[in-house]
Amino acid sequence: MLRLEKRPTPSRFWLYATPPVAVILTMIAGGILFAAMGKNPFEVIRTIFWDPVFGEFAFYLRGQLLVKAGPLILIAIGLALGFRAGIWNIGAEGQYIMGAIFGASVGLAVFPTESRWIFPLMVVAGAFGGWLWAMIPAILKTRFNTNEILVSLMLVYVAETILAKASTGFLKNPEGMGFPGSRNFSSYPAAQNAFLYEPLGLHWGGVAALVTGVLAYILLTRHQAGFQIRLAGQAPRAARFHGVSPTRLVVLCMGISGALAGLAGMFEVTGPAGQISIDFNTGYGFTAIIVAFLGRLNPLGIVLAGFLMALTYVGGEMASTNLGLPDAAIQVFQGMLLFFLLAVDVLTNYRFRLAVGAH
């Protein structure tokens, strides 16, 4: 009989081997699923994982990868800092929306002024909006010991309501013939987050994501604050003994993750999305939770995980349009990825042993 046994020290090998093994297992299990649905599993897998990068339409789809990966990475890194500290911000989607609204509001307020200070100011406003929205659960937690999971999640729905109000009310395009939605930033160059290099889909959001990845990695491994974040997550009492103030840590981690989600929202609304609209948010804030764990809560891992997740999105869309796979099958496929990741993850801290004798 097989038995799980705790390793004395976490396995370095499995720490790094887990994600690739999980991807392979997902391909196998997903392949079986697709075969059972009467599709050719090899074709589906190829459509999802190969075609977006090397296929016929790769010239366009390659750019889509970074466009989708950018916000995922940016949000996931902020979340991961909190998760490492045991602070569970589930409401990044709401902070993403508020960042977009704050950033867009600043730009739209000065329309049609042309100045090179407008865009940087919008970036600051976007980060501030996300930060502010994250401060609500943070302060409620530190003051009244409320649960940040519930509060931040509920605030997503509040943010969605404000978003609907913004696109039909205070941010509505006065020249929009009564349709909901704000002015489009593509026609306002001073406030637009245009592509810096279109074939790769690189805009300022992508730059911010990659830079943040490196900075967060340095923070976690070299800086005292990073040590305190890791310590608080692993051993809260030891963290207090070290001298970490739990209150300050909650405010710091919620603040960083909120600001990064706000930034992502701001870059999205002024770039790929183009305008504030009722259905502006597409779930990046929630998918980023998966990305954070897929990347082992490690900033560099998250950068890779962000691209992998973007690949399943872009490839999944291809598979559903070209091969007629239902969206639900693609979502199951993405869910499998997280499932296998968490399952294989057990091997980092445990090992299988063949039990001998009478056990």
Partner: protein
């Protein structure tokens, strides 16, 4: 030394025989070819240092784990309990070192939870009263366990066992939570049980207790039986040397000039941040440079809270705590370390150390400030690693290297590392809760020696411990923490065990329980 001859006078019929039991875990052999026998009504000691394999052995007898090889017989019949319930059915009961009681339930309810088919509550309460009177263990079945002292909680566990009318009662380190007076009561009960024919397997590393209580002793070292003896015929020192395998060194102290007051606490009161904890009530004491203050007391009387209040995890008004004249009561741990105070909490896994972090990271945990390991907010990991290596070398920490996770070290080795971490920071005030808890005798002697060395160099030291022998060995002055209050410190020299026992509050809760019965 491996003679297994039994005393001729011992003509008791054999109850339990253990023959050639071996149990291995990956990397360690917990028990190797262990054999011993217990007669009916015999009080048999299983003696050994931490990690010698005592607990593994009794867990096999109690059916919690199974041996890899070897046999056991109970009254001549093969005995292989697959689970504790089976062991209990065959008359083997066990009182654990750590109680498994629900604080929000009363005594009778707790007892009922441990039984396979509990009788109606009223009947059970009557039986608890009967048994507790019969064995001189006063206990009111309707009291909440949360309100009981440690000694009384132990009585709940013992009575729970006695209700099953056991043939063999296993007791794992039963006296570590008791005052000297409570120990006497317990021993009386155990002797009575023995005279009625119940055998007792008594696990301990306290040699004087074993000498006064036990008929026979089996001494384990590194999983092997190294000797059997009749404790009454041996000195404690002889048994200690059998247990450790080498001659023991008694710590020696350099007498330092008593300097000015280094740590002063005045009228410190604080609510406990721990659920079911004990609040501190008006604590006052001073410790001079070069002085060691020993604080005794039964666990759960405010020791953890006192450490938190001194380390800075629990804050107070500024002038309640003074270090070298500076008011530091409102400062957190980082600032107190800067002023010169280091502290070592009792709980190694999760409080004093982060179990999943490496030794290097754990060295940084408290040494960052005093060792100057932070530059512009960035951690000097190379410097931290050097410090970790110094600790490992200086305190003989057995580890493959400084990068292994703290949890991979044995309890004793981790404790040596953590003691080294605090003692090597050149602090002027050192506070330690349970310096040698779970540490083998040789390492304990080494830790005590380095505490005395630091005091000899002029540090003021506070040692909180439940081990009276340890406190008497290292401390210049002695106080007792009881229900959150600290007695006035007295010079250690000349104190008798009786006086200490009375300072500790005598036999906890005896009076309360007596008039119920």
């Amino acid at each position: 030394m491996t003679g297994t001859e039994r005393q001729g006078a011992d003509a008791r019929p054999e109850l339990l025989a253990v023959k050639g039991i071996t149990k291995a875990y990956p990397g360690v052999i917990a028990n190797s070819d262990v054999s011993f026998a217990i007669g009916e009504g015999e009080i048999h000691a299983l003696l050994g240092e931490n990690g010698a394999g005592k607990s593994t052995m009794v867990k096999m007898i109690y059916g919690l784990i199974r041996p890899d090889s070897g046999q056991m017989t109970l009254r001549g019949a093969a005995y292989q309990p697959g689970k504790p319930a089976e062991a209990r059915r065959l008359g083997v009961a066990m009182v654990f070192q750590h109680f498994s009681l629900f604080e929000a339930l009363n005594v009778a309810e707790n007892v009922a939870l441990g039984m396979e088919s509990p009788p109606p509550m009223r009947e059970l309460a009557a039986r608890i009263r009967a048994v507790s009177e019969e064995y001189g263990l006063p206990l009111d079945p309707s009291r909440m366990v949360g309100d009981l002292s440690a000694g009384e909680r132990q009585r709940v566990e013992i009575i729970r066992c006695l209700l099953q009318d056991p043939k063999l009662l296993i007791m794992d380190e039963p006296t570590s939570v008791l005052t000297p007076q409570e120990v006497e009561i317990l021993f009386k009960t155990l002797r009575q049980l023995s005279s009625e024919g119940t055998a007792i397997l008594y696990i301990s590393h306290k040699l004087e207790e074993i000498r006064s209580l036990c008929d026979e002793a089996t001494i384990l070292r590194r999983g092997k039986v190294v000797a059997t003896c009749t404790p009454r015929e041996r000195t404690a020192r002889e048994m200690a040397e059998l247990m450790v395998g080498s001659a023991l060194k008694t710590p020696e102290r350099r007498v330092a000039e008593k300097g000015e007051v280094a740590l002063g606490v005045s009228d410190l009161s604080a609510a406990s941040p721990i659920p079911f904890g004990t609040s501190l009530k008006g604590i006052s004491f001073t410790v001079a440079k070069g002085e060691v203050l020993g604080i005794a007391g039964v666990a759960g009387n405010g020791q953890d809270e006192l450490l938190l209040a001194l380390s800075g995890e629990l804050k107070a008004a500024p002038d309640k705590v003074r270090i070298a004249g500076h008011a530091v009561g409102d400062l957190g741990p980082v600032d107190r370390r800067k002023v010169g105070l280091v502290a070592a909490p009792e709980d190694r896994y999760g409080h004093a150390a982060a179990p999943d972090m490496s030794l290097v990271e754990n060295a940084f945990l408290t040494a960052g400030v005093r060792k100057g390991l932070v530059k512009n907010g960035f951690v000097d990991w190379a410097g931290t690693r050097r410090f970790a290596e110094e600790i490992i070398a200086g305190y003989d920490v057995r580890t493959p290297g400084p990068d292994v996770a703290a949890r991979a070290l044995s309890g004793g080795n981790l404790q040596k590392f953590l003691m080294g971490r605090e003692l090597m920071q050149g602090a002027s005030v050192i506070v330690i809760n349970q310096p040698t808890w779970g540490v083998d005798a040789a390492a304990a002697a080494q830790i005590r020696q380095s505490i005395l060395d630091r005091a000899g160099e002029g540090a003021a030291v506070v040692v909180i411990s439940q081990d009276l022998d340890e406190l008497l060995e290292v401390s210049d002055s002695f106080a007792v923490l009881n229900e959150g209050r600290l007695t006035k410190p007295r010079p250690t020299e000349g104190l008798t065990m009786d006086e200490i026992g009375l300072m500790m509050g005598g036999a906890h809760g005896m009076e309360v329980a007596h008039h119920v019965a």
